[in-house]
């Protein structure tokens, strides 16, 4: 087997993992995950000479993040989304909570629960495109607000609004599918 065939095999082994990573970053746009991963693998293949040793997940993830940003530049968020800037549905007219949400359990327990991750993934896909783009850059990739603004071409105040709404919406969605009703006794 030639060195380049070896490299191709190694890249192929990372493909399922890259697809998962792309899917999480793309939310409602996850149908683009295949293309983004394909572009990532092609770019990895073209830069194989710059890499000493086998391709690592860290290295590939760096390329993937660039390819996700490329996809976003090519695909502006839907126009209609600009209208979502109405008051969040969680509060009444005076700005107070309408009700207490269900409790989720301890962080240690739920982050180990497969069902929680399924719910989280489902909920990540109901968020508006631009909102989830900002959220995934912040929470998955740990970018600062100024970096997110630069990547998405939005203002800082808009970014804070998107992140706030994303957290409200995700929390509401997860609570409706996962949490125990208030007052239910814990096992």
């Amino acid at each position: 087997m030639s060195a380049s065939t070896d490299f191709e095999t190694l890249l192929g082994e990372h493909r399922p993992w890259l697809l998962r990573q792309a899917t999480w970053r793309l939310g409602a746009e996850s149908s683009a995950a295949d293309d983004v991963v394909q572009e990532t693998l092609l770019a990895a293949w073209s830069s194989r000479d710059q890499l000493r040793g086998a391709p690592s997940r860290g290295w590939l993830a760096g390329i993937l993040r660039h390819k996700v940003s490329d996809h976003w530049r090519r695909t502006p968020p839907p126009e209609l989304e600009h209208r979502i800037d109405c008051a969040p549905e969680d509060f009444d007219a005076t700005g107070h909570w309408i009700g207490l949400g269900p409790e989720w359990g301890s962080p240690e327990e739920i982050l180990e629960a497969e069902g929680f991750w399924k719910v989280l993934e489902l909920c990540s896909r109901i968020l508006p495109v631009q909102m989830y783009r900002a959220f995934s850059l912040r929470e998955i990739d740990d970018l600062s607000v100024p970096e997110i603004c630069q990547t998405l071409g939005i203002s800082e105040s808009n970014c804070h609004v998107l992140l706030h709404r994303a957290r409200l919406k995700l929390r509401g969605c997860v609570g409706s599918k996962w949490g125990a009703p208030v007052g239910a006794s814990k096992p």
Partner: protein, 73 residues
């Protein structure tokens, strides 16, 4: 003075969210802390957004730890 600091739950959640992204300034904290002490709704929001934060952050942490393993020949 105290009523001057009083904020709505919506404003409290805005500050809780901001606080996950950058340090809050003194004015923001002064209004938020007494609100949190008195409001279980907002305490729950803070607990759960921290869980979301942990969950999403762990997705890219997995990438770092396993990268090391992959580099072993």
């Amino acid at each position: 003075m105290i009523s001057h600091l009083r904020i709505t739950c919506e404003e409290a959640t805005r500050r809780i969210s901001r606080g996950l992204d950058q340090p809050l300034d003194l004015g923001e904290r002064l209004g938020l802390y007494p609100h949190l002490a008195a409001c279980k709704f907002c305490r729950q929001f803070r607990r759960q957004t921290r869980i979301l934060h942990e969950a999403f952050r762990s997705l890219s942490r997995a990438e770092g730890s396993e990268a090391g393993v992959d580099q072993i020949p």
